[in-house]
Every structure is written in C-alpha cells, then in structure tokens.
C-alpha cells in the first residue's frame, strides 16, 4: 500500500514536487524547534548528559538530513507517486475526529453505531440490512463483549437519560 515514487534521471527538467519540498521543510522546522528547545533543557550536568542532549542530537540530525535530502532532490527530483485518495482521507479522519469528540458525551454505543452506519451505508453504499447488522454488532455487541467479556470498560453516555437506558 505504500506509495512508491519513481526516481527521475539526472538532468531532467522536472522540478521538485511541492509536496516533497513541504515535507523537507516540515522536517527541518521540527529539527530547528527541537534544537532550540533542547538547549533550555540542559545539554550536560555534573552527573553526565542532561535531559536535552539526546533531543539536541536528534534535532541536529533532522536538520542535517533534511538539508542533504533537499540537495538530493535538487540534483535528481523524484517523480510524484500515486498520491492519496483525498475523499477517503477526509471522510475517515473527519469521522474519527467527530467520533472521538462525542464518545464521552453520547457513549460508545450510540456514537460508534452512527460512525459505522456512516461508513457502511453512506460511504460504502452497502444495503440497509447488512449495514444495520454490522453497525449493531460493532457498537452494542462490541460494548457488551468488551465490558462483560474482557472486563474492559468502554465509555457510557454523560447524558442521564441515555445512561439510564444503558447507552
């Protein structure tokens, strides 16, 4: 499932992909931030290495490798890979964020049921009956299996009326 990029021959007129440049920039920025912050943590104490020494080394490594990567890209840019299916990424991430934000409020069963119904019926375009069966099994079924079978407590609703009916 990895997206393989294809290396272009040296001397090609193709420019460095913006995504690659953004990635290199992000790694370099993280490296610089770590370098600066780790100095304040203390690089060396009377007993030996301080809390900042390891992060400092890693920050320096990130910055140095980002610079080398940039040089490599300028010399021989890599072609764009297959990319991502933005629809899949947005729908999965957005639904997960919404699920996480309402799980403590609505409880696991209700929020997971809605989450699964969205992925099966709306996104996956499955028929109603299998969608409902799988959504019920993955929400109510999973809740009871984990709570009572494995003794792992999943969240219940913070709303008293929902809580009273076991959700």
């Amino acid at each position: 499932m990895t997206t393989e990029s294809v290396t272009i021959k040296a001397g090609s007129t193709i420019r460095v992909a913006p995504g690659v440049l953004a990635g290199i920039g992000a790694f370099a920025a993280v490296g610089i931030y770590v370098l600066v912050s780790s100095v304040s943590l203390g690089l060396w104490t009377s007993l030996g290495p301080g809390a900042g020494l390891f992060p400092f080394a890693m920050g320096a490594l990130l910055v140095a490798m980002s610079a080398i990567w940039l040089l490599q890209e300028l010399r021989r840019p890599s072609a764009r890979g297959k990319g991502v299916d933005k629809g899949v990424v947005i729908s999965v991430v957005a639904s997960l964020v919404i699920l996480a934000s309402v799980m403590d409020l609505l409880g696991f069963q209700l929020s997971m049921f809605a989450f699964l119904l969205y992925h099966l019926k709306i996104r996956g375009r499955r028929a109603w009956v299998p969608s409902l069966i799988i959504a019920l099994a993955g929400s109510v079924g999973a809740f009871y299996a984990f709570n009572y079978g494995l003794n792992v407590a999943l969240p219940v609703s913070a709303f008293a009326p929902l809580n009273l009916i076991g959700l």
Binding site: G31, P49, F54, G81, L116, R126, I134, G138
Partner: protein, 500 residues
C-alpha cells in the same frame, strides 16, 4: 536437563485453557491478517496489541507471537490462489504457487506450504530452546554499559531497515527517538516537549503511535471502489499432495529450514530475504530446477518453509539479546515493554517462567496453525470476499477501541489520528516507517542506560570501552552503522526489500 525441565514448566503454563485460547485466537487473527492483502504483519500486530493489554503478560505475548507467525501462514493463501502476496515474505511463492493453481494443484500447494511452515517453525523453535539458556546466562554479566552497547547494536539495524534512502531512514529514526522523548525525562524528572498538555506528561503512548502510523495510515492509503477479488477455494479432496509431490518437497523443506533459520539469526534480515534466498537455493540445487517458475512444488515448499523458520529464529535475538531483528519484532518488543518485560539477557533471569511459557507456546502455535490452515482453507478464502468498506469499518472499530483502552482516554484516539496522518505523509514521501518503530522502542532504553552508565562512571565515557562485552558490542554496532553511512545509501541487495 535443566533446560528440558524449564521447557516442561513452560508447557504447563502454556497449556492452561486460557493460554491455549489466546494462542488459538492469535493463530486465527494472524492468519486473517496474512490473508488480507494490504494489511501487513506490522500493522496487524500493532492493531491487535491494545486488545492484549489487559491480559496477563504470558497470555498477552503468547497471543501476539501467535499473530506474528500466523501472518506468515496466511500470506501464502493469497499468493497461491490470487497471485497476490498477503505479506512481503510470501511474494516469491506467487511464482510457482499461482502456476500450480492454474494447473489445478492449488490444494496441494497450500498443504505443502503449511506442512513446510510447520516443520521450519518447529525446528527454529528447537533452536531457540537450545540457545536460550547459554545466552540467557549472559544476563548475569549485563550492567548499564553492556545494555547500552546492546542497544547500539539494535539501533544499528536501522541500516538494514533503511529501504531506498539512508537519509530518509535517518529522518524516520530521528522522529521515532524524538517521539519517544516526549514526557517526563527518566533521569532528571523534567518535562520534555509536553507543550503544557497534562496527557503528555507520561509520554506519547507507544501503542497509539504504532496503531496510527502503521494501521490507520494503511487504511487512509486504501483507494475508493477497489474491486473485491474473485477467488475459488480448492475442495477438501484437492488438498492432498501426491506421493511424488511429497517426495520432491522434502529436500526443499530441509534446505528452506537451513536458509530461514540461519538468516533469522542475523539481525536486520527480513523474512522476504529468507524466502528469496531459499528460492535461489532451489534454483541452484534442486534436481527439478528447470521446472521452477512453471509450477514446481519446490518453489512453494522451500520459500514457505524458509519464511516460517526465519520468523521463529528471529525471536532468538529478541529473547536472548533484546535486539529486534525486523519491524514486526520491534512492535512485538514494544508489547513486551508495555507488559513490564524487557526482552534480552535478563528475561530468563527475571521472568524465566513467562519466557519459557512463550517458547512452549511457539510449539503449540505451530501445531494449531497446521490444524487450522489446511482444512479451513475455504474459510480463509471467503475472507477475501469481504468488501473493502466493511473491512475498513471493522478495522476502524478495533483501532478506536484499542487506542481508547490504553489509558481509557479519548486523548489517545486523537494521538492515533494524528500519527495516522503522519504515517500517511511519510508513506507519500517514501520515508520508511520501520526505522521509526525501531528507535521508538529502543530509544528510551538506550538513553536511560547511557545516562545510568555515565552517572556510575561520573561522566567518564571510557566505561563503555574498558568493559570487554560492551567494547565488543559497541565496535560491532559502529561497524554496522558506519559502512553504509559513508555512501549515504544502502547496499542494493537489501534496498528492494518491501518489508523495510
């Protein structure tokens, strides 16, 4: 004799009904993961770690080990029936396995692969039993400097897991180390990179990171409307190989065991290297080498035996030295640490009972997989017919439950989502994920042992070179690190390994 007694004690623990159930579930889940194209063993083991966190340490590791070697069996099924490897180490099996399917011998190919895997896995486990005691006794000689030196050897494996670019591998490794440093500093007690968030005081959860980087990013890489494969399972009668097929497979299995076991002991060698070399061995030594590529049983029996022998032999460096030889084993090592067990020389001195129970379970797991795989091949192939939206939804449920139950906090679900996006970005930039998991697991152990050593020696670095074991180990580690660094790229032979 003492070893045999300890192994028998291990069997007594491994054969309790709970541990047998965990081994069975692990084999079942591992086979399913191996069957599903797209969900690799690293993502699969990472995904299921949270489900084992509430189990006792022995049960948890027994289940995860069973998942790990179960994936090796499962990967064969799609290679043979669909010409699509379920995981990287079964890729070479597609050549002769699929050719056998087209000749109507799919059942025989699957049976020979399962029997070969059983033989390879069992012999490698015998090797683990033999090596455990002498190497485990080293635990008595290991102090912080030696432990640090072992970690240097472990981290040096980054070279072997680098994929196509050493520069990108080092970025990945540095990111893993930085992530592992979030939280309270283990020696001075100062908060590092917590951004004032209370939930980060205990660090970023290893499990949430791994589930996000490997599992969620895999899901995010799925493409809409991917077609569900059409597959026809062989009938029960077709599962029996002919006498000639058995006779021809036996030498291939013997050679595969040797290749897989030998390479499994070398840290950094992945299962796919073993199966590739086993195939090359068959090309060189088999009496029927001219038939390879056209549906020869040797092309299935050899590599399949080799990759399972490799999987079990690769546990030897983990159990005895604490060195994870591959990305999946690094994830497994993370699970050990989550359970309060530190793999390595001290495992057999501090947690001998658990260590031997896990080893005994490897024998049991191999038998279970043989019993599960051959008769139930029809069931496994039916998994391939599950449409992608249903599969995605089910995996997402496991991920959310897994991330939530680490600390019973929604915060870890957000952490998983964040690292899922990071994993997706890294995949798209062709940055290998394996070095990150390696440093994430080994980084904290390495930092702690370095700082403890220097505190003992009052800042004197010669503590690492004045002690013979640590000096030798550091020398080995530095040799491994420095050779490819000079070129800033990897040797070609390992570069193309898809597991890296």
């Amino acid at each position: 004799m003492e070893t045999l007694n300890e192994l028998l004690g291990g069997f007594a623990t491994a054969m309790t009904w709970q541990n047998l159930l965990f081994a069975f579930l692990g084999c079942l889940l591992g086979t399913i993961i191996g069957v599903l194209p797209g969900v690799g063993p690293v993502a699969g083991v990472a995904l299921l770690i949270p489900l084992t966190l509430n189990l006792d340490p022995a049960g948890s590791i027994i289940m995860l080990c069973a998942i790990f070697y179960g994936t090796q069996y499962g990967g064969t099924i799609t290679s043979v029936l669909l010409n699509t490897p379920g995981e990287a180490s079964s890729a070479i099996t597609t050549i002769d396995g699929y050719a056998m399917t087209r000749m109507g011998r799919a059942g025989a190919a699957l049976t020979l692969a399962a029997v070969g895997s059983f033989i390879g896995g069992t012999i490698a486990t015998v090797g683990l039993v033999a090596a455990a005691k002498p190497l485990g006794e080293m635990g008595l000689l290991v102090g912080p400097p030696e432990f640090f030196a072992l970690m240097v050897v472990g981290i040096s494996l980054l070279v072997a897991l680098a994929g196509k670019s050493m520069v990108k591998a080092l970025i990945s490794g540095a990111l893993g180390l930085l992530i592992s440093m979030v939280g309270i500093d283990p020696v001075a007690g100062a908060p590092r990179f917590t951004f004032g968030i209370d939930n980060l005081m205990d660090g970023v959860s290893f499990v949430a990171v791994i589930v996000g980087v490997f599992g969620l990013s895999e899901i995010l890489s799925f493409r809409r409307n991917e077609p569900t494969p059409v597959v026809h399972a062989p009938g029960f009668r077709q599962l029996f190989p002919s006498r000639t097929e058995w006779r021809r497979s036996a030498p291939a299995m013997a050679r595969g065991t040797g290749v897989g076991f030998g390479l499994g002991l070398i840290p950094g060698m992945t299962g796919s290297v073993s199966s590739l070399l086993s195939y090359a061995t068959e090309k060189r030594f088999s009496r029927f080498r001219h038939e390879l590529g056209k549906g020869a049983v040797e092309g299935v029996a050899g590599p399949e035996t080799a990759n399972n022998a490799h999987a079990n032999a690769a546990l030897i460096p983990l159990f005895t030295l604490g060195i994870p030889a591959s990305p999946t084993i690094a994830v497994l090592m993370g699970a050990f640490l989550q359970q309060g067990l530190t793999p390595g020389p001290s495992l057999f001195t501090e947690h001998s009972e658990i260590a031997w129970a896990i080893i005994a379970s490897l024998f049991i797991g191999n038998v279970l997989l043989l019993l599960l795989n051959v008769p139930l091949v029809g069931l496994w192939t039916s998994i391939l017919r599950v449409p992608t939206p249903i599969l995605t939804a089910v995996i997402l449920v496991f991920m959310v439950i897994g991330a939530y139950t680490i600390n019973f906090s929604v915060f870890d679900v957000y952490v998983m989502i964040g690292f899922g996006l990071l994993g997706l970005a890294l995949r798209n930039l062709d940055v290998p994920l394996a070095p990150m998991v390696l440093t994430l697991v080994l980084g904290p152990l390495m930092e702690r042992s370095l700082r403890e050593s220097l505190e003992i020696s009052q800042g004197d670095f010669t503590v690492f070179t004045s002690r013979p074991i640590s000096a030798v180990l550091i020398g080995i580690g530095l040799l491994i690190i420095c050779s490819p660094l000079l070129k800033l790229r990897k040797p070609k032979a390992l570069m193309e390994d898809p597991e890296a």
